[in-house]
Amino acid sequence: MSGPEFVLGDVVKVLEPDATVHPDNDPGLSPERCVALYEHMVMTRALDERLVTLQRQGRIGFHIGSMGEEATIIGTAAALDETDWLFPCYREFGALLLRGMPLQAYIDNMYGNANDPVKGRQMPDHYSGKPYRFGSVSSPIGTQITQAVGFAWAAKLRGEKLAAIVYFGEGATSSNEFHCGANFAGVYRTPTVLVCRNNGWAISVPAEKQSATDTFAQKAFAYGLHPIRVDGNDLLAVYKATREALALARAGTPVLLECLTYRLSGHSTSDDPTRYRGQDEMAAERLKDPLPRMRAFLEKKGLWSEAKQAALIAKVDADVKAAVEKAEHSAAPELDTMFDDVFAERPWHLREQYEESKRAPRAQGHGSH
């Protein structure tokens, strides 16, 4: 076999400790774009916090967020071309909103109401986003990896110049689908970037227990992919590394991009991380929070201020409040919708079952919100 020679390079970093950027390292984002992406990270974080509160208040059933991983998720998504596709794991609502899904649609998904684009069928944070070239969240770990590879493969077969990016946690590198996906990507040289969000934990299992390799990126070697590791809390570095990865992928060398980040929250609102990780670790990781790092960079350039921050937070709060208000006043999906989309057309047995369900007493409980 011949192919490009792979070496595990250094971790890509752009933001210096003093919040500056070395000119040689500059990914070339305009000041406006830098501000916009920072604002999007802040919005994502604020939304996350609000959703956790709503869950604690019993107003939504569940939330799985991206606290600490905003630079990884938003930096990768920002690097895509309009025509590229994105296959999510379940923490990528920031990317979905960046790609244009309206906040209201996302909040409706959190409520599973009649306006939810996926019709209240799945748990909160299990959105789909075809209009935004964004896949569909499935709980089973890893399933999206092979699918993204197949999508990019199909586009390649049709001569369409697009790339597909697929997200998963480091835990998912243990899944069958990761290994199959990486292998197929390598064999068919599909324009795919496999983004491993190495956030340190798979629920309670630390990354060190997930794999005996020193890095997750080095798994690329086994499949003929190119490995890149990046400081996943450095928005500019993530953007830069993803551009590089996309260029390689488009040219026929799929990439395994390991983003070194950290899950600052529990796994989801169902999880209590104090049971398995220490305060010291948390404190150390908070210092690497991607949001203050990007903010310091913008402030140093005179692009940001406390007043702007306060105004942004106020705007996000108002937007979220309005969306929540509307979602809470929207009806639950009609009973009828439960029987739609099982098949393109409803066969006899589902028509019968729908009639039967109409005669049954409506259940009390989770249905109303």
Binding site: F62, G120, G367
Partner: protein
Amino acid sequence: MTQMNMVKAINDALRVAMRQDSRVVVLGEDVGKVGGVFRVTEGLINEFGAERVFDTPLSEGGIIGTAVGMALYGLIPVPEIQFADFIFPAFDQIVSEVAKFRYRSGGEYTSKMVIRTPVGGGIRGGHYHSQSPEAYFIHTPGLKVVCPSNPYDAKGLLLASLRDPDPVLFFEPKRIYRAARADVPEGEDYTVPLSVAKVVRPGNQVTVIAWGAMLYEAIEASNKAAEAGIDCEVIDLRTIWPVDIDTIVNSVKKTGRVVVVHEAPKSCGFGAELVSLINEKAFDYLEAPPTRVTGWDTPFPYTLEMDYLPLAGRILPAIQSVAKY
């Protein structure tokens, strides 16, 4: 006797088994330090150590495949699948390997293990944290399938499953994990035999068959039916497969009327098998067509989950129509 819920009772069964038999090991995602996402294995790693309780990498195929190897070696693995909805990456190992080892090796090998996994809905889990996939496994010759409905049975059935020579899928109804506490002899060894159903409410007019969380819906509907003068006999299967056919047939011979309840979708659900068995073995005694009250033939929904589940409100009319047929 100690009052405990089903989570604690299963935990106690694992402790009893692990104290007695050093071959018993527990493996799965998050089963160590946090004791599983439902805390069923809580504290086991402290008592038995990291050589017997393993937080595995995130791979159900890996968990079950290595458990098969451990079983071939002579250990008794108790793998946990975090939610039954995530058992499918291990489907090949379970269906092609676990189920068939004894048969295909002419009895040379067995892959004795007890696969524990939470099943069922009613917990706002949507498609992938709610399903009841028992029928796939019953359809595979070589697997036993158990589903307890209360803490006492859960402990006794798990101990019996561990001692049974065959592989067992132990389905834990998560909606009632913490619902009720019952007297369970803590630290003591006892078994509830496999393939023995329990008549939890004797009656003469309609047989209602259920298991797991739906048992309570069946009981509630039967109590309401009693107010309307219909006397139901409620059977808790406890072991779904091989089913206790005698208890069912004896009941149907008495009542001539049957309602089967399960959460899984109707078509090819275990209810279909029960109705066929009843037709084959008690046709002459039937006074009404056996009826199923089940989940609809759709994926498990989120917002409408309580309209999906075969709750008492849907069971009662079925009992009434079977009774007056």
